[in-house]
Amino acid sequence: MRSGSKAMRSISAGPVLVAVIVCAVVVTTLVRIEDQKLLVVELAAIVIATLLAMKFGIADKVETSARHHPWIGRASIIVATLAVLSVLREDTFGLLMLATVLLYVTTCIGVTIQMGYAGLTNFSAAAFVGTGAYTAALLDARHLLPDPLILLSGGLVAVAIGSLLLLPVLRTRGHYAALITLAFGVMFNVFLDASDSLGGPQGLKVGGINLLGWDFSNDLHLFGYEFSFYVNYVLLASVVASLAMVLAAILDKSWIGIWLDAVRLDETTSAVFGLNIGRWKILAFTIGNFLAGISGAIYAKMAGFIAPNNFTLSDSLIIVSIVILGGIGNRWGVPPAALIVILLPEKLQFIQEYRLLLYAALVIGILVARPGGFLERRTRRFDLATT
């Protein structure tokens, strides 16, 4: 049998290790390099390398290698992350950017579950991130809860607000959900801007994180080296993003993943076989909003300050762009897409003004030429050892 014979050939752990190392080096250099020309050269190199990799099926090799050595893959990612953090230990801005990218990854995984798995259109993801952020700000100001619970509350309040939209979102036609989420996003901003008790357009200040005694505002001193306090946030964001990725992975390879796909692809037939369409749409919507809310809460405490114009429709569109560019429904496309979309404009000063224009054009290009995104979603195949 096919799967048996594959296991008999020994699959090397090489490809996955090399891939992790390359990614670590790329991330580190992209963050460190300031010289614009050098950056453009590096980006060109990355583009060429990616095209070559696509041509020679390297992604498949890496994936197979990762599948046969899952623990080596996971360990190498952890080691690589720590290594990158060590190299960047004093680059406060770089660390802040990395943490932001990781928080975007968390939100975008949530949106992937909503859009890529269940087929729900959500143009208000930034509003849910904002909900989490403002929840954290308000709870923090009143010192009502310890920080871990504040972060959790960010997610829960986002879920609660999202449940207001549920009834309209559950309507069959996609463009209802699109309009509802659009209108909601706009209204959210109007509400925040107009509401003085929430700080109005000037925004709110937020305290830092203190997780059960681990004060995030202190620099770390390890092995004789000094680590900027932002390392704490990057670590937290990494853990949260990883958990989000794992959740997406488990959901995908479960009955729930199949039901979400069935709802997305053919509601009528699914209903005939007894699927409760509403239940699965609600689940996907809720999980996505929860992730968005948590990342918003972390963001608020990390940035120390939030304002309504952090969470506008443009930000929601950026989130949707990331999900599409990476490959709708493919969680592995999210981190590189987030890195490109968030990091590059910060680094390439000359495109910063044009970034929204460029993303929009890029997404149009993808939708016309390669609708599946750069990393097309993998077919779900269960690893069931047959008896």
Binding site: M115, G119, T121, F123, L167, P168, R171, T172, R173, G174, H175, Y176, A178, L179, I180, L182, A183, V186, M187, V190, F191, D193, A194, L313, S314, L317, V320, S321, I324, E353, Y354, L356, L357, Y359, A360, A361, V363, I364, L367, V368, P371
Partner: protein
């Protein structure tokens, strides 16, 4: 009393503009099952195009009537052309794609247009003053002051809606459009050239939007690069609440939305900032209650 009249006039003007935008949405949906989200930004493009035309003609010192003509001509040509272009190059090729892709694509096209205006029009980030080309002053009726320009604009807007309605219902072109909306395959077997009708339909809807853009500028004396986005969201909801594919529904939806806004502003001035929120909430409730719209969807809507 005069503030009430002012509110009413505002409401009428808003409603007319929303109605025009909603009409475009509903026609595009009817004919291709497409939500063309860039519609509002096409309107903005028309408005800015007209502004450029007027400003570049200013050294010539033409009479206001000619300037108006130039403004409308520029807006109509620009919006109509862009609308047709988008239909031809992006919407038609993607018509077999999942509806989500189409919606996303048109949203991104709108973003490109919007950012384009912001980045490439001189000083685009800031609101631009729009010249006052209509007669000033007005007249009093029963203690109420009515502006000439307001009146002219409302009539012009209503006239444009009536014109589009006439084209759709009484001309051969309109017949072809309705045939394609009802059943594009049958229409093609009857000899209607799909590849020609679609861009023409989009041009028709878009040039009306350009027209509305000029009305907007003349009424508020100001335009800004982001004006299309909110107009699109409102126009879209007006079209849905009236019934997608149903032209009367779109017009009704537009005036309904404006009416709700006016109600909030007139009756509860302290909540003026929230007028859109209130209007959206009511519209969303209406949509949840009657998903096929208040006047029912046009025959083209397929389940």
């Amino acid at each position: 009393m005069s503030t009430l009249a002012q509110h009413l006039l505002n409401g009428l003007m808003q409603g007319t503009i929303y109605g025009i935008v909603a009409m475009g949405f509903t026609i595009f949906f009817g004919v291709m099952n497409v939500i063309k989200f860039s519609h509002g930004d096409v309107l903005a493009l028309g408005a800015f195009g007209s502004l450029s035309a007027v400003l570049s003609l200013q050294p010539l010192g033409l009479p206001p009537a000619l300037q108006l003509l130039a403004a409308f001509a520029a807006a109509i040509l620009l919006s109509g052309a862009i609308g047709a272009l988008i239909a031809r190059t992006l919407i038609m090729p993607l018509r077999e794609a999942p509806p989500l892709n189409m919606l996303l694509m048109t949203m991104m096209v709108g973003t490109v247009l919007r950012e384009g205006i912001r980045l490439f029009y001189p000083g685009g980030t800031n609101p631009q003053r729009y010249p006052e080309l209509l007669p000033h002053g007005g007249f009093s009726v029963a203690n109420v002051f009515v502006r000439y320009d307001g009146l002219i604009l409302v009539f012009a807007g209503i006239a444009s809606i009536a014109l589009v309605h006439w084209v759709i219902t009484r001309t051969r072109l309109g017949l072809a459009i309705r045939a394609v909306a009802e059943d594009s395959e049958v229409a093609q077997t009857m000899g209607i050239d799909f590849a020609k009708i679609i861009p023409v339909t989009f041009a028709l809807g878009s040039l009306t939007a350009g027209f509305a853009g000029v009305l907007f500028g003349l009424y508020y004396s100001e335009i800004n690069y982001g004006m299309g986005l909110l107009l699109a969201i409102i126009g879209f909801s007006a079209a849905i609440v009236g019934g997608l594919g149903n032209i009367w529904g779109a017009i009704l939806g537009g005036y309904l939305f404006a009416g709700l806004q006016t109600l909030v502003v007139a009756a509860i001035p302290s909540l003026s900032d929230y007028k859109n929120v209130v209007a959206f909430v009511v519209v969303i409730m209406l949509m949840t209650w009657r998903p096929t719209g208040l006047l029912g969807e046009g025959e083209s809507a397929r389940v």
